[in-house]
Symmetry: C2
Subunit: 274 residues, 2 copies
Amino acid sequence: MTDNNAPIGVFDSGVGGLTVFREIMRQLPNERIVYFGDTARVPYGSKSPETVTRYSEQIVNFLKTLNVKAIVVACNTASALAMEEIENKYDIPMIEVVKPGAKAAAEATQNNRIGVIATEATIKSNIYCRYIKNLNNEISVTGKACPLFVPLVEEGLLNDPVTIDIAGRYLNDLIKIDIDTLILGCTHYPLLHETITRIMGGKVALINPAYETARKLKDLLTDLNLLTENKTLKDASHSHRLYVSDSAEKFKIFANTIINYRNLTTKTINIEEY
Amino acid sequence: MTDNNAPIGVFDSGVGGLTVFREIMRQLPNERIVYFGDTARVPYGSKSPETVTRYSEQIVNFLKTLNVKAIVVACNTASALAMEEIENKYDIPMIEVVKPGAKAAAEATQNNRIGVIATEATIKSNIYCRYIKNLNNEISVTGKACPLFVPLVEEGLLNDPVTIDIAGRYLNDLIKIDIDTLILGCTHYPLLHETITRIMGGKVALINPAYETARKLKDLLTDLNLLTENKTLKDASHSHRLYVSDSAEKFKIFANTIINYRNLTTKTINIEEY
């Protein structure tokens, strides 16, 4: 018997998945969340499917020790490379970010031309294209890896001329083919919303899979009758737990730019042991 | 009894340490080298001393299974954060890159003002400053972390306007204080030699610790009577072995830009098992 009041497990390669964590907090304010950021092995986006799958399995093993009732793979790269394997291996309800993002984009496009920006590994997997084609084979999907976006975001250069220059190069091909919808296929990219809008122009819809993922999570927990029974808890933030595989101190600094860190604690664990 | 014909172990967080590997091949052409690049957990430069030390220990454990006669820590971050601990723990001759780089810089400076550029973790450790001060307390040492240099190099943007812009920002403080010697304290940075020279001007001596490290290794092996006896082997390149913790295919592509990859093979191992 799964405990309705058990927490939801959310994981990412690092801090970026907190944009998904934030969205879940907003849409499911009574739920407790356990977040894991693999900061000792970040980034995933330049690594191989085998490695990302092994890491994801270790993280699921760890989250299971905390008796989570469901798991959200908040990392696009792990969703793209590892989801199929871990979904088959474990008997716990799981949600990832690629399918919800693909669905939202397919619904948003008017001219059937969608662009996807993501890490090298996610683009190489071609997974957004496959999901979108499954929904509507008439849509054309063009992917573009943007490997410098994550380091630029982590340097805080969100609206810097250098970031605008680099974004211009990455996005140029997508502008040329007249896409009307762009998936931000990496959890760091919503932080570049302003710069990307500036380059793409206001007419291109930017899809942040986090919103759709949290909505799908809510549906899943409702269907499985797994929503928390704790209705008195107006603010569950005291009960959230954050875990990382490297130094908690450094994580907190960046985490604070995404979520209100007040009342939260972060603990370091050795993920290789799982 | 150590076997004189045993290989030398060289390791780095990824591919950058091949600049040290290349220098050892040049200065010790008869020696066999085993190289390990921790591509599944790269980069080290943004991670904590505890994590980098644990990773370094696993790598030394792995290299010992290959019966190496000496180990070269070719990664500045591992040298800065882990060397003291692993040197004490193992009874194998070890050399790192920070001390040789510090010595070369202290010898090169005329005006006693040295700059160091490196990863965030290396700069934070303040280790170059401490070593140089030990050699000559009158030298002033100023460090500057350059976290975007590694991703820019790995994107191949060696002489790009964006790299020149970013380098200008990083190096501006060092130009202002009139340094005459600059340590390239990360194995990727020698690949930015041209851009850095352009910004610093031709009068600033750029120190690449790789050269000095290989020289020190030669001295150490000579002192310990551990140089290979194999004098007939004019080209040991057939006997070098490369290992990585993530996909070998991707590693080879970048490796080829640093060394002549002909005749070399790369194997993937699971470093977490050591």
